[in-house]
Amino acid sequence: QTGTLTGTVTDASTGESLPGVNIYILDIERGTATGPEGQFTIEDIEYGTYTVRATYVGYQTYKQQVTIDQADVKLNISIGQSTQQLEDVVVTALGIERKEKSLGYSVQKISGEDVSKVRETNFVSSLTGKVAGANISNSSTMGGSSRIVIRGAKSVAGNNQPLFVVDGVPINNSNFTSTAQQSGGGGYDYGNAAQIINPNNIASVSVLKGPSASALYGSRAANGVIQITTKDGSLTEGIGITVNSGVKVKKVYGLPDYQNEYGGGGQGPFKMNSQGQLVPDYATDTSWGPPLDGRMVREWFSYDDVDGKMGETTPWDAHPDNIKNFFNTGIENNNNISLYNGTDTYNYRISLTNVNNEGILPNSSMQRNEVSFNGSLKLTDKLTTSISTNYVYSKAEGRVGTGYNSGNTLNPMLQFNHFGQRQIDLSEGSPMRNLTRPDGTQRTWNWADPVAGTINYADNPFWLREKNYQDDDKQRIYGNFTASYDFNSNLNLETKLLTDFYTSRRGERVAVYSSATSRYSEGIREVQETNSRTTLTYTGSLNEDISLDAFVAGNIRYNQYNRNIGQTQGGLSAPGIYSLENSIDRPDIDDHNQESMVYSLISSASLGYKEMLYLDGTLRNDWSSTLPEDNNSYLYPSITGSLVFSELGIFEDQDILSYGKLRIGYAKVGSDTSPYRLKNTYPFSTPFGSSPQLSVSNTLNNSNLKPETTYSWEVGTELSFFNNRLGLDVTLYKDNTEDQILAVDVSPASGSNSQLINAGEIENKGVEVMLDGTPVQTKNFQWDVTVNWSKNKNKVVQFAGDISNYRLANAPFGLSINAREGEPYGAFVGTDYVYDGNGNKVIAPNGNYKQASDQSVLGSYVPDWTGGLSTSISYKGLSASITFNGQKGGDVYSVSNLWGKYSGMFAATAENDVRELGVVPQGVDANGNAWTKEVPAVDFFQSFYGLEAAFVYDASYIKIQEATVGYDLPRKWLSSLPIRSLRVSLVGRNLAMLFKNAPNIDPSIAISAGNVQGVEAGQIPPQRTLGFNISMDL
């Protein structure tokens, strides 16, 4: 006898019927999909009891026993969206899924959808404003770095960024940029390596903030862990296909305020040549020249016939939009297609991604192609294997140089913000766009001698882009292989092999006929990390009330880093050929190989009592190759507990508090160092002719190093009220990192620049608050608000002995960034004004501000607090969201403001007729009387050189980080098409700076991802991004 099963499927929260849902009867392997009104029918089912399953993308899987015992059996199914299911399960360290309520530490979850709305090319930047306690700063260059630091910097000299883990694979996040680049001294920002994580593939992100959350990852997790789980193909009937396609445009905004009244040159009138023509001073790269009054002058392009203006005069005019005209509109395309399928015995997902980016600067582009495969196969009832692989190929051409470099060779902003002439026309069709004379030599405005064609300092900015460009490419493979064996329902043995490998090539050019000596450098780097881990897990219970989850694991980690960099010397012999073999002199070589190994034993146990009280403990021991043999083993524990007090009887009959939990945790995490820091060796210099050169190392290594240790405490509570309409999550924490391994600077008179020591303690304490609420919720309309706010107090507690300062780097022109006893990490040290007893600035008899003779602390880049606010509304298929992001306090040192004023380019140097009337500095003379005399503007603005305090600004800001409007087309519109869902959205990033105190620059932009922050030099202006996205499931 047979019967028919019929029914409808509806959305659990809206009641809307769902077409295209897969209905499957497991026992007889038959199924169907629901029709336009969500209805389904399966006929000819033998009488019996079956398990029926309903699966649908974005929804929880539904399973139900059904007995077919009559001709017509009805089954109405209502399924909930899967995001709601994610609420109470989180992925914790080593990929272990845990019920959120059992955790004694703070874990923040972010859904895949949240990070993929805008599909940033740098994954890290899409977390901006969304993670409480995380300070994220993004660069403004194509493919540049995003830096994330969770709960403040813990290590004085080491890495302070969290560990990135994708499906268990630790992902290298280094960027291999020079110290000079990181501190604003010029170079390319090649971006942090973790930026390639593909938002299209992300199922969810867990941010494990404190060391207690991440004790299991060991050393590198002291700064927290960003744990990413990618999508797989589990339980999809038929082959699912998702297509996503987006296009974005980028435009610069927030350029400095320039003056447009005076043109280039030093002081004084035009010179007159023998033909009686007025000749501007093009040799001087400042803008203190004659007023831009339209007089006819011999402009820089009238000394050759390239523009047909040979010998002619043209008007001396302002071009207020010249800098804006230099930039293009950037365009980015992002296309992704994924195919997935899954049954009870296998599942897989394949994803292909292509990202194409045309940058905002002339001749800049970036591409990325990725193939990912996740697959899992159940070989027997007990043995499951899975594999995950990702291959990413990325390349870029024409990244822009950042910061100040004296050769002026990389960054065109230097002649826009530091040293340049305001009147230069850069628009489409302007003479500047004709780069070369017929003989191939360069044409630029900054002539030392226009007839001979010799250049003083500045190259043509288009020459910098078209000729002196860099290019790079990178191939990366990461993934894992897992075999898992269930002895019984309690005991499992799993072994995993995880690897991340990439190789990158970078080529950097300075063309022949540039103002600097032509050169080419090429660097190849190989980076590898391999882990192999075996884990034995017990999951069960001691009795009815007490559950026990425990595991022991052994891990071997191997890291390797090789680089081979060559740079030509003495110039290039053949123009246009970029090869080390084209070096006039012997190329300079940097050949470096390093490897390290860490063995670990890891154990963990978790006890739960009545799903209400939990106690967790972990214990880990590491042995690291980088530490001395008798000191290379270090053991560290963590212990955490949580109490879900809302389960207590006293909370039963009330409807205010829906959920309440207290948590407390303590952890210690040990940390090793980089290789080869124990013994002294002799570094090479380029041989002097045939004489090799070796010197004593400028850093004294230390054969007695011991591991660094971070101790951390956290307590927190999670509360939700009014049936989960209002939620509050508060965490208080305190971390102390001790015995830091540092190469501290010492007086070179002692015989080295720095010595490696184990010293120094940094303390971070703070509070993180997350508040989320749903002020309005009706059947069709919902309004959500999420606020995160965090305040971290960071203090360098002490160093060893006489040493009280560790310099992170020297920024250009006198300021240094330091870790200094008693100050927050990242203290700016430089020259201050001299103040009298009443706090007035003292002015010397010549009208210049007096400069203090000692250097002092002028600020720090560490903000007082950071915060983000996201709010979204949805009405049926339509949703809109906006994210604000900001910080209060912290400082930024702006080299652009130093030189932009010195050179007379910024608006302040021409306001209120100061060039005619002079400036009366605010301050007092040596006798304390208010200063009243005028000082010539040029002398005034140039007198600040050496007075770093004048260029340290408050870095507070609030900006619109992200905004989206999306529309899910109603399913019934699609029912006739082979499309299950279709979403279109408009996205915007970095839309507007609503508030800031630092003039002429965007204080939120980082130059790199390193520990040196808060330095602005030749900043590439911020870019507003607007885009359109279409996403469909087939």
């Binding site: 040159g265 030093g266 004084g268 010179k271 040799a283 001087t284 050769g407 030392a448 003083n456 300092y457 600097a516 000596t517 010397q569 003495g570 050949d591 390093q594 490897e595 390290s596 190994m597 690291s624 980088t626 043999e629 290379n632 083993s633 290789p675 080869y676 124990l678 013994k679 060796t681 002799y682 210099s685 002097f688 002719g689 004489s691 050169q693 070796l694 004593v696 004294l700 230390n702 600077d745 010492v746 007086s747 070179p748 008179a749 002692s750 015989g751 620049n753 010595q755 006489d802 040493i803 310099r807 010397a844 010549n846 003779s853 000692d854 250097q855 010539p936 040029v938 140039q942 050496g946």
Partner: protein, 464 residues
Amino acid sequence: CDSLTSYNENPNEPQEARTTYLLTNVQKSLSDTQWDDFNLGRFGNLYAQYWSQTQYTDESRYSPRTGSINSMWADYYLNIRDLEEIIRLNRENPDKYKGYGANQNQIAVAKILKAWSYQMITDVWGAAPYKDAMGGRENPSPKYSSQEEIYTGIIKTLTEASDSIDVNASGFTAGDVIYDGNMTKWKKFANSLKMRAAMRIADAKPQLANTAINEAISAGAFESNEDNAVFTYKTAVPNNNPINEAFKNRNDFAVSEALVGLMKSNSDPRLPFYADPASTGDYLGYPYGLSNGAAPKYFADQPFSYPSSKVRDATAPALYMLYDEVLFIKAEAAERGYISGTPANFYEQAIEASINYWSNESVSQSDISSYIANVPYNASNFAQQKWLALYMQGVQGWSEFRRLDFTGVLQQPAAGKKGTFGTDFPQRYPYPNEEYNLNQTNLKAAIEMQGADNQGTKLWWDQN
């Protein structure tokens, strides 16, 4: 886990070094330290007023960049550290290193260069870490020694070095760019340097000066330009003359009006070897220390002379000490009654030696004689001629004009640091701000002893 340790052997750098490799490195590096565009171009040759800055004239107006003070200080000390390493290796393991030259000769060479370096340090800053320096891990914050202690030590070191040299045993078997292992020349250099040091302190410690000069002369100092201590660069980057490199892309330096004016007024035959003609064909000095407003205008509008192609050549040598200086010292020693002889004779020989060096003996004897006739021996001409002969040895030129109170031909820069330190010309360089960060207690004690850390505080040897 024994095998773990094997992963930590550095494959990139050797754990042992031949002393010959260390020597080449330290000679090259010391030469670069005194000779590069910052330490010579933006400091030594400016403070001596041999050169002027053409644009961005802050340094010539006595506002040095803190970074360049820091790195000059560090470079001298780190070079001394490498010289100490040569001494240490030869002392601790003589058999292992004697293959690179007789141990005592290797040690003597290192000591001579050490003495040269310490004299540079103390002539620039005054009190400095000396006795307490090079303490390594045991003493990262060395105390400062007074200039008197340093000079006494320098003279002692040079005496030891000269005495310990065995001219019959091997010098450095390779890597000695200055003298190619010729120990006779090293010995002469030791004694010539001893004369330089002794004469510098003649006003402050005449007795020691007198003794030292006599000792040095009898032990044997430079006897001709063949003996000159110079480091000859190579054509290829990065082994070319740093001044050559600096002029490749920028035109920061011109010869000063003070230098060119004095040379022209006496028809100095060295002028074509000191400076290139201006676009007009004439030799035209550049005013010293123009304001940042005036300099670009002057640069754009006026013809002027750059330093000569000779000193800007890729292979132009860095000068450690020249023969003529020994003769100038003898003249002064005779004048002071330390040695016998006629001061004017030594003076004239000195000028002749200088002209011969700079012109590569291309100036005729009669032209030399007629030039000498233009600048007859007297106190003022002596100071001027010694200053001229020390061209390109910026710190030496500046030191001698401080000591001899030579001012007539020098120019006052436009507004800047000038006037903030109480003297017309800088008397010393400010201490590096790194020392304020890293060695503050000892630095403060040195300032207490020596006087305020500004450019107006006179050094100990500058007694009047």
